[in-house]
Subunit: 437 residues, 2 copies
């Protein structure tokens, strides 16, 4: 893609409410544009990044055997009355009356609707266990939407639901999701800590939050750094191995502010291993048994022919929120560096262009076409501005690799730079190898 053709309205103007760095960066780099309070349009650059995150989330859900489907955004109030949450949800629920005067709402979550679908579709234990998920827009009418996509009203979320015959098997489903979440954050190059959590308005008796580390995070975190040394590869995809995995993660000290007790921390974690930092919640999983299946009468015939309520869990990842959270973790000293797995482009080519000399631009185009043939998704910065303006701009765009075509590039050798490292002079083939690694 030529940067001059890309719809990326880079701007210096920031509204006064853009207080945190992810909100600022996303506006300045033309990733998003606010359309009303807490509601954003995703412009091509931001959209492409969010789609890549969505795809990683999807693949890791599929890898544990979850099936993708899609529930609508607008739901009937009826099922929420059945579960009792229509009242409980308060003003955060966006309530709507349609032209016939029927009570509808914009789904803030989907426990009720998925339970309704399940109860009318599945009758026998033979169809269990089942994991279903969807990635869909949700709406929570926040009193004070703020922090850009981190606390907005219309947000993009993956929510999964598990259906099991008994508690033991339900906890295996829970562990599978636990595993999928860790794999997902690993592929996003994030340090994530699963933390035992309260269940809040979703309810239930087992719950973990997944918190990623970021200097600017909203919650203070106290943890044992050995938790980051656990190698996911050693666990198999069996019930017992998944149980071992969750036990191992739970064995290390990791709490937020509210649960912090200094004495315990010092006792359980050696000084050298103590991490005190901040983090951002990006995922939350729940096991809640029959909290929804019972009031909604989602029953199944067991092997013995007995009717029993299905045991359920739900599992959320904030996909749009992750975009902001990753920026909070990776935007350091005014330089953004997207993880390779979700960078909007594999590499940016930056030629030094001047009015009377288009030689560098021609060279850049040759490199661009060459990379394109090898399926390298490159951005070519063909904009006519000086190099220092260009570098500032690319500090915002955050593409992790640059090919700089100026005085240091000559013949078949080019200046190649990984953001945050020293640049090197390399042949194009060597650059390709580095990009493909």
């Amino acid at each position: 893609m030529l940067l001059s053709r890309l719809f990326v309205p880079i701007t210096k103007d920031l509204p006064s409410d853009a207080k945190i760095k992810s909100h600022q960066l996303m506006l300045r780099s033309g990733m998003i544009r606010q359309s009303s309070a807490g509601i954003y349009s995703w412009l091509p650059l931001g959209f492409k990044i969010m789609k890549k995150i969505e795809q990683i989330v999807r693949e890791e859900q599929n890898n544990i055997g979850a099936q993708e489907m899609l529930m609508p955004t607008i739901q009937s109030a009826e099922i929420w009355k059945e579960s009792g949450r229509y009242k409980d949800y308060g003003d955060e629920m966006l309530r709507i009356k349609d032209r016939q005067g029927r009570e509808m709402l914009y789904g803030p979550t989907n426990e009720e609707l998925i339970t309704e679908i399940f109860r009318s579709s599945v009758k026998s234990y033979k169809s269990l266990p089942q994991l279903l998920y969807h990635i869909q827009w949700k709406f929570r009418d926040e009193m004070r939407p703020r922090f850009g996509v981190m606390r907005c009203r219309e947000f993009f979320m993956k929510d999964a639901y598990s259906f099991d015959l008994d508690e033991y098997s339900a906890k295996t489903s829970y562990n599978k999701m636990f595993f999928a979440y860790l794999k997902t954050f690993e592929r996003l190059s994030l340090k994530a800590i699963p933390m035992a959590a309260d269940t809040g308005p979703i309810g239930g008796d087992l719950s973990h939050e997944f918190i990623i580390l970021a200097d600017t995070g909203e919650s203070k975190i106290y943890a044992d750094k050995k938790i980051f040394e656990i190698n996911l590869k050693k666990f198999e995809f069996s019930k017992s191995s998944l149980e071992d995995m969750r036990k191992e993660f739970s064995s290390f000290y990791a709490v937020t502010d509210e649960k912090f007790v200094k004495k315990d921390f010092d006792k359980k974690v050696s000084k050298a291993n103590q991490i005190i930092t901040t983090g951002i919640e990006v995922g939350h999983i729940f096991y809640f048994g029959d909290k929804y299946s019972k009031p909604l009468n989602c029953m199944i015939d067991s092997k013995e022919g007995k009717k029993t309520s299905i045991k359920m869990g739900s599992y959320g990842i904030g996909v749009s929120r992750l975009v902001g959270a990753i920026i909070e973790a990776k935007y350091l000293n005014n330089v953004m560096k997207w993880p390779k797995s979700i960078s909007p482009y594999d590499v940016v080519i930056i030629p030094n262009i001047s009015k009377n000399n288009i030689e560098n631009l021609n060279k850049a185009e040759k490199v661009y076409n060459d990379l394109k043939k090898q399926n390298v998704d490159a951005l070519l910065d063909d904009v006519d501005e000086n190099m220092s303006a260009k570098f500032k701009k690319h500090d915002l765009l955050g593409i992790p690799y640059q090919i700089i075509i100026g005085s240091k590039s000559s013949g078949d050798k080019f200046e190649f730079k990984e953001v945050g490292e020293e640049s090197q002079i390399l042949k194009l083939n060597e650059i390709k190898d580095k990009l493909k690694k």
Copy 2:
């Protein structure tokens, strides 16, 4: 995927309002489930098909240089007041008040919002032309939602918008979309006719509907069959060639009921070439100049430094509607056959299973694993029921190729059937070649 694990609640029960065959098939084959009037959940089978259609639509948009982005579902009423359509839209617009009492709405289309984004982002003619699109859920509060996904309230649509400096260049953008639409429908194995159309509530002075042929279509069509002989490949992607393309399509007689004049039809089309059939509208494109850019004050500096309103067009394809429309076109004599490009699976393996003999199931599993290794996405029907029940079920699921493992399969040869054709006895390698073609 094993059919016993797939969440596909096949059912015989049909609600009385399921009157057309696509609505019936989608409910019976477990593709969708109604959650309230005109609002559906897409279950895994239906979701997968819709996603494949979405991807083809996306690729053909990208191929003409359109850039993907995403606007939110909930919009502020303000911009609709600026354009004057807030009143015009009437009860079909789902109007919402948020907790602060602000007037919001669920977007039925996006001319206003995209114009607002463009006016605040682009100032110079150098950034033109520009094509932007998104694929997002829309809501129209139909008085009488019916026909399943064909006339529902919450629907999935690709809408694109073009921005140009003058009318001539805007019509080139229009022609590019015209081309992309024909390519899209070609890849979906549909016979589509572009038909000059009235502009309706979108407004403007140039418009085409794209109608696909289906025996059960809602509109009567009179056309010259030579329109289907135009080879898209002969047109280049240049202004003049695209103009020739649109002229050539326009040169053949093709009208709906309302514009039909028998005398003209007989004069312009030889008896042998006359087609009288029915069709379904699946796309609609518009050129409307400054209808929105003027009231919304979306101006640009021309080369001469003069402020001028941007010339715009908009271009819709109903993605969720297409799922139903394709069924109307391809579900014949109670047998569904998905076009290969969007079939939920490449092939289904159907072993004849009986309680005391699992030899066929074992064979089927071997074939399944073998195909999987070659990236063939197969469905294995491991459900314990008799073959005639299985075949009936697969008439609904519509996977176009079947490997039947029963009495006719022996050694390394298998019964292979393309739906609607005679079955053949082939080696697995020969089957693979057929599937990959």
